[in-house]
């Protein structure tokens, strides 16, 4: 009797397993095993040593792990997406923080809470009578004048004043490009390059003393805490439990001769606005605006660093940057901006709109079709910190020049998570690429859109990501972008749904360059990928690039060294799970599963199409296997998804 029950239970358990659909990743893995075996390779050959170049102290653990097993980039992209689902800032930021851990880091701060200063509220006079409002203002006061400064002190405790100033002057300048450089003579350009190299060397010499975890964790605590407060406020106001007019008018009787600035909410650099249209000009620490179509003209002086918290409950607002480090930008501190509703315009410059520069920058946009403009280090960009944009809905436009739109530089994670809407991402168009990387024609550097960048050869870079959860999106970049990276870093795009278009010129769409990693995962929709070269699954120089498209009838176009190409001992993979796809290339010789030799041995290019009636120009062929005339690469386009009665059998 007992045995029968066990047998029945086992049968039931197995029935349950069969009924459960196997994830695509299992079959993708099988396909990789199959093709690598045919090429006398094995999946574990998709691996890089960690000592091709001298190890530095800036390498992130995540990047190091993925360099060891680059194929896991797909899993990492899925995990990133899953952890950021929902759009609440704190879990997103916690995941980002986890991935900022350095390879050499032994101790990790999980949570950082300074004991509150007993005297913190001693000199505070309450102005408003609303308990809810005072709670929010007290919290702001605590973070802005206690926790952030103390966290910054811990972050910079070992850094002297000169080096701190260097970070705000010379090093910051070396991140920026100058449009007039293009006209300078060779000796001047050479000396500029030498000077920038000296800056980099100086930075590397002391940057390990910067302990960014303190300021980032303080920022994360604030980001989560204010999000909860703000959402509660919004709910209560909408439910009629709180009246804005009453809150703002219900104030204490000011004693005669009392200065208003001595009262909480009325301090210098603080502003509280009602539901009308307001204009805020200058340098602010805290703004709470309850509605209206507002204009913000914001500036920031990094020499006297401070936190910034801006909360705008509703309205179509315009934010204009009047200096660097504004609009959800943290420089030596945390900068948080919550705009809950409305079609907003964010006119950022450099280091703006979700920018973390030795700090944390968060721009949370709760809804509306928004326009984000910026120049360099903007729209989800970070150096020694985290720079995040969370945009919950609407058809949004992101436009920037350089190091933008999910860009992680040294010890930085830059992220755009966009949850709904048909979005446009545009990067480039300002700084000419002058080294002829793209031939003699004029092209522009982008270094954006899920892009990681390191300081070759002195310091590993960060992680740059775009997570777009739905909508028909357009991605346009030029040189370097769209799930790409340069020097020991990671760039990724994970686009879950919609018919998307990806257009770039070079080094893009799942491409790693120089000991680096790039991945583009597009899960659903009929997508279009277009570019010239070094794209669509390319690794160049001990680097790996992967492009994975799971569903839809897709079109891939490229000229050369693309669509699963390994170059200079790099590894490139293109995997397309389903759909009737078209693969067009101009050069047959270095595409569709190609590897070229360097250092006396080859690279790896793996091209895998697992289903559909596909059309090719080049090596690829529907219902076929092929090995390209290269070192070493090949492809297969076979019906990998056998459909049996369970619909689950992959082989």
């Amino acid at each position: 009797m007992k045995t029968s029950i066990i047998v029945i239970m086992i049968i039931l358990a197995f029935t349950g397993l069969w009924a459960q659909e196997m994830p695509d990743s299992v079959f993708e893995r099988q396909a990789v095993e199959h093709l690598t075996a045919l090429l006398n390779l094995k999946p574990s050959d998709i691996h890089f040593r960690d000592d091709y170049a001298k190890k530095d102290s800036f390498r992130l653990e995540t990047v190091a792990d993925l360099m060891d097993r680059p194929y896991k980039m797909i899993e990492f992209a899925e995990r990133f997406k899953s952890n950021c689902q929902g759009g609440q800032p704190e879990p997103v930021l916690r995941f980002v923080f986890e991935n900022l851990r350095k390879e050499t880091q032994t101790a990790v701060l999980r949570r950082y809470r300074m004991p509150e200063d007993e005297n913190l509220y001693a000199g505070i006079n309450l102005y408003y009578n609303s308990v809810e409002l005072n709670r929010l203002l007290m919290k702001a006061h605590s973070f802005l004048y206690d926790r952030f400064p103390r966290a910054l002190d811990s972050t910079m405790a070992l850094v002297n004043a000169e080096d701190r100033k260097f970070l705000l002057d010379e090093f910051k300048q070396s991140v920026l490009e100058d449009t007039v450089d293009v006209n300078k003579p060779v000796d001047v350009l050479d000396s500029i390059q030498k000077v920038e190299e000296q800056y980099t060397k100086r930075f590397v010499g002391f940057a390990t003393k910067i302990k960014k975890d303190f300021i980032i964790l303080a920022g994360i605590d604030a980001a989560g805490s204010f999000y909860n407060e703000v959402m509660r406020f919004q709910d209560d106001i909408k439910a009629g439990n709180l009246s804005v007019e009453q809150m703002l008018s219900d104030t204490i009787e000011l004693p005669p001769q009392a200065g208003i600035a001595e009262y909480l909410g009325s301090h210098e650099h603080w502003a509280i606005g009602g539901v009308g249209d307001d204009v805020y000009r200058g340098e602010y620490h805290f703004i709470l605006d309850f509605g209206g179509n507002d204009i913000y003209e914001l500036s920031y002086n990094p020499d006297s660093a401070h936190g910034t918290i801006i909360i705008d409950m509703s309205g179509n607002d315009i934010y204009n940057a009047k200096s660097d480090f504004v609009i959800g930008s943290g420089c030596f501190s945390a900068g948080l901006l919550y705009d809950l509703e409305g079609d907003d315009i964010y006119n950022g410059g450099n280091f703006s709109c979700g920018s973390g520069y030795f700090g944390l920058g968060l721009l949370y946009d709760g809804g509306g079709s928004d326009k984000y403009y910026g120049d360099t280090h903007t729209q989800g960009a970070a150096t020694f910190g985290a720079g995040i944009i969370l945009d919950m809905s609407g058809a949004d436009l992101y436009s920037a020049a350089l190091f933008a739109q999910g860009c992680g530089l040294v010890e930085g994670v830059g992220l755009i998570a966009d949850y709904e809407g048909n979005d446009q991402y545009q990067a480039g168009g300002k700084y000419t690429e002058t080294y002829g990387l793209a031939g003699a024609n004029v092209h522009y550097l982008s270094l954006s859109q899920g892009f990681g960048h390191g300081l070759q050869p002195y310091g590993g870079g960060g992680i740059g990501a775009i997570l777009d959860y739905s909508g028909n999106d357009n991605y346009v970049s030029d040189i370097f972008g769209q799930g790409a990276s340069y020097w020991w870093s990671l760039g990724l795009i994970c686009d879950s749904d919609g018919n998307d278009q990806y257009v770039s010129y070079q080094y893009a769409q799942g491409t790693g360059v120089h000991l680096s990693l790039g991945v583009l995962v597009d899960e659903r929709g009929d997508d279009f990928y277009r570019g010239k070269g070094l794209m669509q699954g390319v690794g160049h120089d001990y680097a790996c690039g992967i492009i994975l498209d799971r569903e839809g009838d897709d079109i891939y176009q490229a000229d050369d060294l693309s669509q699963a190409a390994g170059s200079a001992n790099g590894i490139g993979l293109l995997i397309d799970d389903r759909g009737d796809d078209r693969y067009y290339v101009r050069e047959k010789r270095n595409t569709h599963g190609y590897g070229n030799p360097r250092r006396d041995f080859g690279s790896i290019g793996l091209f895998i199409d697992m289903a559909g009636r596909d059309i090719y120009t080049g090596y690829g062929k529907d219902d076929s296997y092929w090995k390209s005339d290269s070192k070493w690469g090949g492809g297969m386009d076979i019906e990998f998804w056998k459909t049996d009665s369970t619909g689950t059998d992959g082989e």
Binding site: D187, D190, Y625, I638
Partner: protein, 309 residues
């Protein structure tokens, strides 16, 4: 005309650049520095002047060597490439100066020096390279062994042979490549063993080296096909196919009965590449019983290729 103009521009720029240089050590070094800025420029607008500047540096010959050798420690990739290219083109007269840098403390410098010495190809560098081929840094071991292969002198074989068993895959890879250049038959068994190497670079380069040995490696590869390591046998099949000929095709025939579909597929593919119709009958026989789509794919190709024969 355009070339002349470029050279003129290089000279003008050289003068201009020289004028701003504060305290150059001597005339030759000053000239090298000036030319080097242009020769290593990556700016697209100076592209036409890069080659003439490099040519001028090469034309300086021995006079340019000391300063160029000093520049080996440069880290900017484009400039480092220029240093390499110029010194290689200057050739044997640079070897004595280069040898002095093999004892440099900076391992990158030693590694780059090995590379340059190998490409120059002068046998006077062999002893120095052998000395550093046992260095504790694997980059240096790899570069030294590769350089010994490039020089192609039998005196370097012992060091290469040792490196075939190095603990680091990239060194074994360099040794495999060097083995294929030195063509010492004693290396064949090691190379066959290396078909099972954990590092794909070493594995594939061993295969390429064995192809160079040709028929001399057939029996060793054939013997290895029965070994347990599936990867070794699979790559052995591919290698036999690339060596080609009737003997290789016959050896491959035995693999058509392998229980592994991948082994059968690679054996059929090997036969396809052998350019020998000897094994065609065995493949045809297999076609009647074969079920695996990959094997059938290659069977079809073989039958198609040899149908007329």
């Amino acid at each position: 005309m355009k070339m002349s103009l470029n050279i003129l521009m290089v000279l003008l720029l050289t003068l201009e650049v020289s004028a701003v240089d504060a305290s150059p050590p001597n005339e030759a070094a000053r000239k090298v520095d000036s030319l080097f800025i242009i020769a290593s420029s990556g700016e697209i607008k100076y592209r036409d002047m890069v080659q003439p500047a490099q040519d001028s540096l090469v034309a300086m010959g021995e006079a340019a060597v000391p300063r160029m050798v000093e520049k080996i420690d440069i880290k900017i990739a484009r400039e480092a490439r220029t240093v390499r290219e110029v010194l290689i083109k200057i050739g044997a007269v640079a070897v004595p100066s280069l040898l002095t840098r093999l004892s440099d403390e900076d391992t990158e410098v030693v590694s780059k020096t090995c590379y340059i010495l190998g490409k120059i190809g002068d046998s006077s560098a062999i002893d120095g390279l052998v000395d550093v081929s046992g260095h504790s840094d694997w980059h240096i071991r790899s570069s030294a062994v590769a350089a010994l292969g490039d020089i192609g002198n039998e005196r370097g074989y012992e060091a290469v042979s040792r490196a075939l068993a190095d603990t680091v895959g990239l060194v074994r890879k360099s040794a495999a490549v060097a083995g294929g250049k030195l063509m010492n038959e004693a290396a064949v068994p090691h190379l066959v063993g290396m078909l099972a190497d954990d590092f794909y670079g070493a594995r594939m380069c061993a295969s390429e080296a064995l192809v160079k040995f040709g028929k001399k490696s057939l029996s060793a590869i054939g013997d290895s096909l029965v070994f347990e390591n599936e990867l070794q046998g699979n790559l052995g099949c591919t290698t036999l196919g690339l060596i080609g000929g009737d003997s290789a095709a016959v050896i491959l025939t035995a693999q058509l009965t392998s229980p592994s579909p991948m082994r059968r597929a690679l054996a059929v593919e090997g036969i396809l590449n052998c350019n020998s119709s000897l094994a065609c009958g065995a493949v045809e026989l297999l076609s009647s019983s074969e079920k695996d789509p990959l094997v059938l794919f290659y069977i079809e190709k073989v039958l198609e290729k040899y149908a007329s024969k």
